[in-house]
């Protein structure tokens, strides 16, 4: 801790009593929270669309030729783990320096690592279905793709959907840190107030973020409970 750090810490925590609840600032906070949620949802929907075919390929349940199947699924797994291992902010910085600053860059940067995560989960869930019905389908002359559509996907959908709802919460957190490349949102407001040393406003922003996460968490955990039962 540096000189004056203790004093600053004390000021930060005591300023919770002067939390900024003026209507103007609350409206700003609510609008930017909605923006954060919308970015997260857009990125998540994009990553679902990309991750689904990749997940099917990685699960190795669609191609009958064995050697092609193993190489293809290994390659897809490698791509997915590459996407997953780089943090979304680093993707954002790289994409900004390649394409330039635009809101679509933030969506892409969020979508890339989430594709990696969702693709792995899709593959695992498609493999973990009960084997008996699949065997029956294959025995009665269904092709692998038919067994996938009528056997594996219906079994996997509840788990996959509940996982997507869980990911929404993480997505909101990640999209709030896109403020580092200058994307509007609740993180941007917190950063601005912090630079102004307006600790009261910082607390408002932090509580807004917390409230949003708690609400989404309650919603997603209820959906998950119903889905899995």
């Amino acid at each position: 801790m540096h000189t004056g750090g203790g004093l600053a810490l004390l000021r930060f925590f005591t300023s919770i009593v002067e939390i900024d609840v003026s209507p103007e600032f609350l409206i700003i906070c609510i609008i930017s929270s909605v923006k954060t949620v919308l970015y997260a949802v857009a990125a998540l929907s994009l990553s679902i669309i990309i991750a689904f075919p990749l997940g099917v390929l990685a699960s190795g349940t669609i191609i009958s030729n064995k050697s092609i199947n193993t190489t293809l699924s290994a390659c897809t797994r490698l791509i997915l783990s590459m996407l997953r291992s780089i943090h979304e902010l680093i993707w954002a910085l790289l994409l900004v320096s390649a394409i330039g600053l635009s809101p679509i860059v933030a969506v892409l940067a969020l979508a890339l690592p989430y594709t990696g995560i969702l693709g792995r989960i899709f593959a695992e869930q498609l493999q973990d279905v009960p084997q008996q019905p699949i065997k029956v389908l294959l025995h009665n002359g269904a092709t692998l793709s038919k067994a996938l559509i009528y056997g594996r996907i219906p079994f996997a959908v509840p788990n996959i959907t509940s996982y997507i709802f869980y990911r929404l919460e993480c997505g909101i957190r990640s999209s709030s840190i896109m403020s580092f490349i200058g994307i509007q949102g609740i993180g941007y407001q917190i950063q601005l107030s912090l630079l102004d040393l307006q600790f009261g406003q910082v607390w408002t922003g932090l509580l807004c973020l917390t409230l949003m996460i708690v609400l989404v968490d309650a919603w997603s955990s209820k959906v998950r409970r119903i889905m899995v039962n």
């Binding site: 840190i177 993180g187 950063q191 932090l206």
Partner: protein, 284 residues
């Protein structure tokens, strides 16, 4: 309410959630296209592709044959930074785990409402709400914003970054730990209690042995997440690979950036392999 009407209610809730999710998706894309100024088509043309190609070329060095061989020595000299980053992740996961282990038992619902100890306890109930609120608050704030706040109080460096990461992951781990206490099998606790064992004996001979394998899994899972995030927190708190990352970004030294990314991926792969082998060890 009987069972059937609960089920109908649940189905209705599920339908509403899915429909509102779809509406949110559509609305979000309308919003994003509004923010970009309806210029999707302009982004995806040939110049974008060549831009991406240029960036990749810059990352491996403008003239790959000469620069890569020179850079190998330089790359190896960055190992101290990579080591510092690894140290940072270990420090932060240990801060998170210690804090979470000290508090998780208070945040479990079945501790205070009497389903384990037989009688509800008001004091524990108050503590339950306080601890739960702390978990939610720390879990909701991303590591980077915590780092921005903490950097006001601490000197920039490993300690500040580890505190930021540790506090965030304390919330996550605490929630996971307390949920596993809530889902625990209470039969064996009851039988120990009826045999006359004290609270601490129940804790050490029944609760902890049941929960430790699950806790280890959560710990390893969070470590994997933390090693990915340490670099990004380093951008803010000036420590480890993140500091060099930010500097070379600001100087447009893209070759150094490529080397740093290589170290980053190596670290992530090492930790992933370590975690998956440890997880197998726990499972068997």
């Amino acid at each position: 309410m009987n069972k059937n009407s609960i089920k109908e209610h649940d189905q209705f809730f599920l339908k509403i959630s899915l429909i509102s999710g779809l509406i949110l998706i559509i609305f979000s894309w309308i919003f994003v296209s509004y923010e970009t100024g309806y210029k999707f088509a302009e982004l995806f043309n040939i110049s974008t592709l060549s831009d991406i190609k240029n960036l990749l070329l810059k990352l491996v060095g403008e003239n790959p044959r000469s620069s890569l061989s020179i850079k190998i020595g330089e790359w190896y000299s960055l190992r101290s930074l990579a080591y510092e980053t690894l140290l940072m992740s270990i420090l932060s996961i240990s801060i998170a785990t210690i804090l979470a282990l000290l508090t998780f038992i208070l945040a479990a619902r079945n501790i205070h409402d009497g389903s384990i100890y037989g009688y509800p306890n008001i004091k524990l109930k108050c503590l339950y709400y306080i601890v739960r609120m702390t978990f939610s608050l720390t879990r909701a704030i991303p590591e980077l914003i915590l780092a921005l706040i903490i950097i006001l109080f601490f000197n920039p460096g490993i300690i500040a970054a580890s505190f930021a990461l540790g506090i965030h992951n304390f919330g996550v781990l605490g929630k996971l730990f307390s949920e596993s206490v809530e889902n625990m099998d209470t039969q064996s606790i009851k039988s120990l209690q009826s045999a006359g064992s004290s609270k601490s004996q129940v804790m050490f001979y029944c609760v902890l042995p049941q929960l430790l394998p699950q806790f280890t899994t959560y710990f390893l899972y969070r470590w994997e997440v933390i090693i990915r995030t340490t670099v990004v927190v380093g951008l803010v708190s000036a420590s480890g690979l993140g500091k060099e990352f930010k500097l070379s970004f600001s100087y447009f030294h893209y070759e150094d950036l490529g080397l740093l990314l290589l170290w980053y991926i190596i670290l992530v792969v090492i930790v992933d392999l370590l975690c998956s082998s440890l997880r197998k060890l726990v499972r068997d």
